[in-house]
Structures are given as C-alpha cells and as structure tokens.
C-alpha cells in the first residue's frame, strides 16, 4: 500500500471513529452492554472463521521463523477463546462508569457548579502480538463509551482484522455505529506515525507491547499517552519483618508467575536482618530454582551466588532470576527503589509502623504493598473487574487501569442569568 493510500485509510478510520464516538456518548449504557454480549456470541458462533484467519498468521510466523514463544502468543487457543468470552461478559456486567456528578458546589452568586463523568472520545490502541488484545482492550474502551481505533502488529494482522470486523458487527447488531471499533486495514508501518500525528481526532493513545514500541509511541505521539514501560518490582525485607509470612511472600512474588510485570525482580534485605534469616530467604528461593545475583555482602553469605552489576539492578528478567542487595534499613531501600525501580509495584515486609509509613510515602511507585506479595498488583485483584493495563505514568491514571480510568469529566455551570461584573 502506498503511503498516500495509507494516509487516506487512516484518515477514513479515525474520522469514522470520531463521528461514532459522539453518537456512542449519547447512547444508553445498556446498548453498549448488548454489543459486548453480541460479541461474546459471535466469538462462539464464528469460531471456525476466526480459526481460519488465525492459521494464516500462524503459517506466516512459522515461515518467518518467529520464536516459539511468539508463535504461542499468536495462537487463539480454546483457553484464549474462553478468556475473551468471559472477559466480554464480565465487562458487560460492570456498572456504567458515566453520568455520575460530583464535586458539586454552589457559589455565593448562586451558580451551581459540578463535574459530570464523560467519555474521553477516541482511544487508539497500538499493540503487538496477542490478537486477543483486540477484543479485551476494545471491550474496555467501548464500555466507557469511547470509540476505539485498533492498530495491532503485522504478525497478527489476519486475526486482528477478523476480530475487529466481528466487533463492528456486534455494534451494528446493537444499533450502534460500527465505526466505533475502527481497524487500520494495512500493515504499512507508516500508519502508526500517521495515527500519532492526529491529535485533532484522537484523544488518547495506549501502547501495549515491548519497550521499543512504547518508546516510539512516546516520541511521536502528539496526543496524551498512557503507558507501562517495565515492571522492576522490589520486595524489602526489614529486620522487623515477620519471617513466618516473609518467606512465603518472597517465594510467591518471584516464582508464582515469573514472566509477568508484577513479579519481584530485586530482593532488598535489611542489613540489620539476622544472617540466618537472610540465608533462609535465599535458600528458599534457590530451592525453587531461582538463580541469584547478589552484591558483595549477599555473596559473602553463601556460595554459588553470581555477581550483580548495575544492569542487574535495572533488569526486568521476567524469568527465574533475581537480583539481591543488602540495604541500610528502610531509607536504604527507598533510595535503591527510587534510583533503579520502574515506578510499578514495590513491597515492604515489616511489623514496624514508622518504617511502613516512610516506605509508603517515599517510594515513588504506582502501588506500594505492605506485607503481601507484589503479584496482587492487578486490576482484577484490586476489584476492578477488568484491566486495560498498569500505568507507570503519574498523570490521569496510575497503576492498574479499569473502565473508570477511560473516562474524563466536564464542568457544568447552572445559572439563572448571572453575568460577571
């Protein structure tokens, strides 16, 4: 496709999405829920057609020799289907996030002023690899009565396209504009830059994928971006920790699912923690198959621990590997985390209130966990019912983001003829 043709296609899709977003904002939430349930039914009913498209992507991936893990992520398995369908039904059941009024005040001149929750408008999703993101993320955007513009990776083009088309049908069957689920129908890489320049029509872009994709989006986007770079999560074990709970928490944070963003990547041990307790923690991790990389003090505790370099303190291993440092109390832990962390999720294990208070206030992260596993940092675990990602930004939404976080507000000022003097 020529760049000129790509430009026209991008323009058509985002103009359609903007128009649809205005219509969507004016409709009753029940209509949106009907569209989400329609989509769940279509996923079940059109299973064969989807599988056919998915096989095209899988064949291309094999031919290109993509890594097995990537081929695996492309595959729309039975489990993925069940999860997409369950997700749609869960989101349909959630309370409508719009319309509530808040922050009301009446001014001395009689003006009644308040905020009312409103959709953001058009949300663009730029994502890689997993085609189920097309369904999961679009569902959350639509639930908040935003139109969505989908731009998936070229490796999942056929799968994404069929899923987006079905979502348009699900919308139309509910009497809603099909353009509210817009899909960029080209693998031309220029389309992404074209999208990111259109702050006149797109209100928010959410990138989901590897760090290089996200950096590219941040560099080019003129509209607001909500992103999640990395999860370099820490657990600090204080000398005042309860070792009966600290041991299982540390093991759980590292090993329960090492490949995800809220798994622990660095363990921080209080210098004042008894050596036998330090050793007990390290031995428990080694017993679970974790490869340790420590600073000098850690390595002096026992044999077989590798040397940690500066890169290890910043590493998101996503694997059974762990950096371990000894720090000087809670202040040392805070400094280490703020220097090397990724502002995602960090935990303190302690029974001392003053330490917990300082850690909670001074660690500059989206979630601070006290005496529990970092693995709880998740929209589902926080009771949101669903999650579109975990923001490591500080503006608009921080930490796990749900349906509420895809809304904005407007100010309403009710008068009776007031003028300004």
């Amino acid at each position: 496709m020529s760049t000129d043709k790509t430009r026209k296609e991008v323009d058509r899709v985002i103009r359609g999405a903007q128009k649809a977003s205005r219509e969507l904002a004016a409709r009753r939430p029940a209509k949106i829920n009907t569209a989400l349930r329609n989509m769940a039914a279509l996923l079940a009913g059109e299973r064969k057609r989807i599988a056919t498209e998915n096989r095209k992507d899988l064949a291309a991936a094999r031919k290109k020799g993509l890594p097995a893990a990537m081929q695996d992520r492309l595959h729309l398995s039975d489990k993925t289907f069940r999860s997409m369908i369950d997700g749609l039904r869960t989101v349909a059941r959630l309370d409508a996030p719009l319309g509530s009024t808040y922050d009301e005040r009446t001014r001395p001149n009689g003006l009644r002023i308040y905020k009312v929750k409103a959709p953001i408008g058009v949300v663009a999703l730029i994502y890689e690899s997993r085609p189920n993101v097309t369904v999961d993320a679009a569902a959350i955007c639509l639930k908040s009565q935003n139109a969505v513009v989908l731009r998936g990776g070229s490796e999942a083009f056929y799968s994404n396209r069929v899923l987006a088309r079905l979502f348009s049908r699900a919308l139309a069957d509910a009497g809603l504009p099909r353009e509210a689920a817009g899909f960029i129908p080209t693998t031309d890489r220029a389309a992404v830059d074209l999208l990111l320049a259109r702050d006149d029509l797109i209100d928010l872009v959410i990138p989901r994928g590897g760090e290089s994709l996200i950096r590219r989006v941040v560099e080019k986007a003129r509209m607001p971006v909500i992103k999640h770079y990395r999860g370099v999560c820490h657990v600090f074990v204080s000398a005042h920790a309860d070792m009966r709970t600290a041991l299982p928490i540390v093991v759980n944070a590292k090993t329960q699912r090492p490949g995800v963003c809220n798994a622990m990547e660095t363990l921080l041990l209080d210098r004042a923690l008894a050596d036998k307790n330090k050793k007990a923690l390290l031995e428990a991790l080694i017993a679970e198959g974790v490869e340790l990389r420590g600073d000098k003090t850690v390595r002096s505790l026992m044999k077989g621990i590798g040397r940690a370099t500066e890169e290890d303190w910043e590493a998101e291993y996503l694997d059974l590997r762990l950096a371990v440092a000894v720090v000087d109390g809670v202040r040392g832990a805070i400094e280490h985390i703020n220097r090397y962390g990724s502002h995602h999720t960090d935990a303190i294990l302690s029974r001392k209130a003053a330490e917990i208070k300082a850690f909670s206030r001074d660690v500059d992260s989206s979630s601070v966990i006290i005496n529990a596993s970092t693995r709880f940092s998740d929209g589902g675990e926080y009771g949101m019912g669903c999650e579109i990602g975990i923001s490591t930004d500080k503006l608009h939404a921080r930490g796990p983001m749900g349906v509420e976080d895809l809304t904005t507000y407007k100010w309403i000022v009710e008068g009776k003829g007031q003028i300004r003097s």
Copy 2:
C-alpha cells in the same frame, strides 16, 4: 552559551529539582505555606532589586521595538506586585491537597486497598512574556508539594531570574530545598528541547503562551503535557431563551473583558428565535461597539454586518469582534460547536429542560454553562482559590486547574501475609 554548556545547566537544574521533589513530598504542608509567605514578604522587601532587573528587560524590549502590548505585559507594575503577593497568601491559606485516602475497598482475601493523594514530582513550566507567571504558577506547583522547573521567555529573562532566585531563598528560609524552584539560567533556545526530552526526570510540562509555543511543546515533549490552545467560546440563544436574561448575558460574555480566553467569540442564534429578538441581541452588541460578522441569514436581518468566512468560525478574536451564525435548534448548535470550537467553554440560554440536557451531554467542551455568562469559566469563579490555567485537554485535568489538579495518587495495599495462588 554553547549547547554543551546548556545541556549541563539543564541537567543540573532538573536533577536538583528531582532530588528536591522527593524531599518536598516528605515534608509537612505547613513548611510549604511558610515558604509561600516568605516569598510574599521578599516581594515586598526586595521590591527595588526586582524593579532594577525588570528595567533591564523593559529597556531591551524598547530597544528591540517590541509591540507596546508586549512591553506592557513585561512590566511589573504596582498592581502586578499586589496581585502576586495576594496570590501567594491565598495559596498559602488553601487546604493541603495531599495525604487524603479514598476509593477504599477490602477484598475477600482480606487485603485492604486504597488510593492516597501524592505529588506529581517535577513540573516544568514553559511560558512567555509575563514575569509574574514565575511567581503565580510556581506557588501552585509548590503548594501541591511538587518541585518546579521554570523556563520563561528570553524577553523577561532578568525579571524571571530574580523572582526565581527569591523563591529559592524563600524555600531555604523555610528549611526546604532551594532547588525545588529550579530556573534555567540561559536564554539559549536549545534548552527547551533539552528539557522536553527528559521524561526520565520531569513528570509533567505545562506550556503557557501563544499557540506556536504550545504546538512546539506538544510536538517535542516526551512527558505528559497539559495545555490550553485557544478559547473559541460560543453562546447559543435558543428560541426558548428568557430574553430578559439573554440580552445582558450575551453582552457580558462578549464585552466585559474581550481579550481573555473565556470571552464569547461566536454567537449562535436559533433559527426559530423571533427576528425581533435576534435583532435586539445584535443591536445591543453593536451599541457596545462590537463589530459583527455574520452568515447570510444574519446579514439579511440588518445592514452593516460583515460577511463571516470559514476562518471567522474558528477565530479567537480576543477583541470587540464577533462571529454570528443562525443554526437549526440545539442540534445545529451542538454540531457547529463540536466542528469549530476549541473544547473550552460553551453556553446555552434556554428554559427548555430537554434542550439543556442534550446540549450539556453532547457539547464536547471542558465547561458547559447554562443561562449564565461564559466569563465565569475560571478557577477563582469555580471556588478553587487559584488557577494554573484552563485545560482544553481531556486527560488528567479538564477546564480550570487548581492545586488539586497538580496531584496524582498511589495505591496502597495492606496485607497480613497474603500470597497469590
């Protein structure tokens, strides 16, 4: 200054600000209020020194032949001094925006989860012309316990520098880090691009100034931007308006202070409004010296009305000039506003509930005003006590922005040894 030297200076200032921001976040709000009051006292006490620096800028402006209006904006007059001092004292008296907890929930596994308000961190201000922004905007950033990095226009360099230095002294005198009010000590234009690339150290940038400055910031910034492009505000007079209040509102919205962003720039008249009422509105405006530019129908109502072009519908005149269009009822008004407006502030004058409801919901603007003047769209009028600007963005903060809008939150998860299974 060489680019290399500029790079070093920018790096020094923003690193200092980041370090200071962590210290600031941990201090009691009372300390900040002391610093704000110190600054008010310094403005009074160091009046002569400030005037000397201000004269340097004024002399340079005359020499360069800057327009009189621009020279006027540069001048730190008695009135500007009083306004800066009053502003500081008002902000010092406002409630501390941090520390409150909200959205609390207890999960079935016993985890207690809530949000707590937190500072954003480092806020960069990039502004033009008026040196009092140095004081007014910095005060609001600091009140929310953020560090601020100030980059004013070269035409106000000496005035901005002395004000920033005094703010650093006011902080130090309160026992707070002076680097919390950072100032870029060079007029090298490269400094702005260098700042905007540092999303590792700056959390938010707020541009204040003309549209070209703002567009440049949006294009280059890698961190979030909160901005205000233009105020193209509309008043729609419905056939169901109460003409006794409509007349004074329309005149007030246009003429009470035409040079500001919340003044009316386009008047929309309902086609069904009686011709005599249409004429009465136009005559009242003409009587106040307003130059009108209308569409065909408007021009047929009376003589002496200029022809409005497409540019007029998008114009922010900031002057006694007004575009006037006749529209087909409330739907026509909504369409016109969403097509040509700037998402700032738009008003409906009507006594019909269904019309008001549709207008409030479907006009995509930060403030919707019902039966009152657009001139009320302002932080002070909304009861915020102060204002750092009016956001025409939809993310994070929309409409007038106060101290609360310069905060973020973090999630706190309190456990008793919970692990994820």
